[in-house]
Chain length 175, copies 2
């Protein structure tokens, strides 16, 4: 409901009064549970989003990363998630506490799931042993976020393939 | 002068009237040249920043990238550049035209200079031939921007070394 309303009025136009009106409750009911607009939106986002972040494990790490990146890119770019998430990221630039929360609840979650998947690939012998895969997970996520937030270029198949070419060239055992 | 004022009052607190007052001119004098606050700040930023982005060419690509990344990271994090640049990036999240301008004038400039340096390394035989270095330049820049904008972690020597380890593992001829 919150995200639907956000999709209608935009991140900047959304406020707790409007959410309360749409929900048919008093605004204090909302404030009791969510002390601020970012807190409300973070919870709304995590309900629709986090459940869909899992990687497949087909035994082919490159294919599984590719599938998940191509699936999550449009989800991040379009409603209901895209504009609200972008608005929160913008607000986090001048609010270090929000940035820390956003990092912990979303970005670090994505990185950790990525790390889990590539660590399994390392154990299966698809990736070389003894490399810092935690940082590799950050590079994979970071490159896609950078393109999404700071460029005018889309995250398309060519992007994902170029990223995975680099990743496998650096860490694959068959490089 | 604009950036000094921005450092005092913050990105959100800055407006063209205040800049005109500080400069001792009428606000129309400012508006004639810069139609908006982002336009004014983009010009102010580019005067202090772009000149300092060049890479050394000592013949050791890893050392030259490392030196430039460690030099530019604090410049991006601290005044006069840091807070204004962060404010523009935030505003660009809800303003696609500003995002395109920011991308063209700053991020793409950094990527192209990075591409120049690593292309020279490829010609010198330090990096393997036949790989997509344009995307590699995006990965290098993107990873650092991601950490700067979306995490609570600093860009320190460990970060830069881990990034360059990955880069050289993927593209170095001595891997």
């Amino acid at each position: 409901m919150t995200l639907e309303l956000a999709a209608e009025v935009g991140y900047a136009g959304l406020n707790i009064e409007a959410v309360a009106r749409r929900a048919g409750v008093g605004k204090h009911t909302i404030y009791r549970r969510w002390p601020s607009k970012p807190a409300l939106l973070l919870d709304a986002l995590s309900r629709v989003w986090i459940t869909d972040l899992d990687y497949d494990d087909t035994g082919d790490v490159r294919a599984d990363l590719r599938e998940q990146f191509l699936r999550s890119a449009p989800a991040l770019a379009n409603p209901p998630i895209g504009p609200v998430y972008r608005g929160l990221i913008a607000e986090a630039q001048t609010d270090p506490a929000l940035r820390a929360t956003l990092h912990e609840r979303f970005l670090l979650t994505v990185e950790r799931r990525t790390l889990d998947r590539i660590t399994r690939a390392q154990h299966a012998g698809e990736l070389v042993a003894g490399v810092d895969l935690e940082f590799a997970a950050e590079v994979l996520c970071g490159t896609l976020y950078y393109r999404h937030l700071l460029s005018t270029r889309p995250i398309d198949e060519g992007t994902v393939d170029a990223l995975l070419d680099m990743f496998m060239a650096a860490y694959g055992t068959t490089r």
